[in-house]
């Protein structure tokens, strides 16, 4: 990919992101239809589930990994989140454990 093509990709990602942020404000000036309100309440948790699958699909993690460090670090992240109810703790704890596992044991 050339530098120009990279700029195009970033510009399109920016444009699409801004579309998702502006659309409701441009579309629903007078009130929100009930179907949109319903989707607003149920869609987000499904999207988070979708993104969990997305980031664990093959190719996004280290090549040739057995999967054990990923499973252990995920359990640490979930455990910390369940215990501390703080995303910063869960994210940093899981990542530090993963780095330690990858670098020293696997």
């Amino acid at each position: 990919m050339t530098e120009f093509q990279m700029f195009i990709m970033v510009a399109l990602a920016t444009l699409a992101t801004q579309c998702t942020r502006w659309t409701p404000f441009l579309l629903f000036r007078r009130g929100t239809p009930s179907v949109i309100r319903y989707l607003g309440s149920v869609l987000p948790s499904a999207i988070w589930g979708m993104l969990v699958v997305y980031c664990f699909k093959s190719g996004t993690l280290i090549e040739g990994s057995s999967g054990i460090p990923e499973i252990l670090a995920s359990l640490v992240t979930l455990g910390l989140q369940q215990w501390k109810r703080n995303m910063a703790v869960g994210i940093s704890g899981g990542t530090v454990v993963y780095m330690a596992l990858i670098q020293h044991w696997f």
Binding site: M1, Y38, L43, S45, L78, A88
Partner: protein, 239 residues
């Protein structure tokens, strides 16, 4: 903006307090993102530019993996729309609240990220603080944390005195944490489980290239089909 007037200070202070956890989380994630981009071989200005323009952490990580691949503008656009579609629902919630914010409204909408919504979406504004300035500072601070942390990570890059292998786990950890946090807050988990299951099936059926789009469409279709069962009407405030 000229010199800060006294009425701005309480709003800035309250916003700083409210965004402190975000500062820590973004400090780590933004730093890791800047670092991650360097390990992929990008110049420091690329992650910094992306942090300022795209301004959506999860998408920036996804774009990182797309930028090392082949030129695929349509996929970039559609994946960005799909991944950030949740912003539509932030906008719907903030619709009425942002109506009275005047000239700062375009900025508030431009930078309406997950973390800003997680604070402002609750509707709570600290006492003795002017609402629109509180909105402004929470939005501004969160954006600044992200851009600054990315810049630091991108500039230090490979000169770090320690081994950074494995830092890419920050992305799965981010999504796992958001998923778990959302799980903890909901009464019924059918939508969370559905999102996982539908995406997994789509990954098997359509392969890694098209499964995001397929999953998104299937999820919306299923949620609409089962609306009578799922719509409790109590999860968002009606106004």
């Amino acid at each position: 903006m000229s010199s800060p007037s006294p009425s701005l200070l309480p709003a800035a202070r309250a916003a700083l307090r409210a965004t402190l956890p975000i500062m820590i989380g973004f400090g780590f994630c933004g730093f890791s993102y800047g670092l991650y981009m360097r390990t992929l071989g990008f110049e420091p200005y690329v992650p910094i530019l992306m942090a300022m323009t795209i301004l959506a952490g999860s998408l920036e990580f996804i774009m990182a993996s797309m930028l090392v691949g082949t030129f695929a503008p349509l996929t970039a656009f559609v994946v960005s729309l799909v991944v950030n579609a949740r912003h539509l629902f932030y906008g719907i919630t903030m619709l009425d609240r942002y109506r009275t914010t005047g000239r700062m409204r375009p900025f508030l909408i431009y930078a309406l990220i997950d973390e800003t919504f997680s604070i402002l979406g609750t509707g709570h504004v600290p006492e003795g603080v002017e609402q629109r300035w509180y909105y402004f500072f929470v939005t501004l601070f969160n954006e600044m944390y992200w851009v600054l942390a990315t810049t630091i990570g991108a500039c230090l890059g490979k000169n770090l005195p320690f081994d950074t292998r494995g830092v890419e786990f920050v992305l799965p950890a981010l999504f796992l944490s958001i998923f778990a946090a959302s799980w903890q807050q909901e009464d019924r988990h059918i939508s969370s489980i559905g999102g996982l299951a539908v995406t997994f099936v789509c990954l098997m059926l359509f392969g890694p290239q098209y499964f995001l789009l397929a999953s998104m469409l299937s999820i919306v279709a299923l949620l609409l089909a089962f609306r009578t069962v799922l719509d409790t009407g109590t999860e968002l405030p009606h106004d």
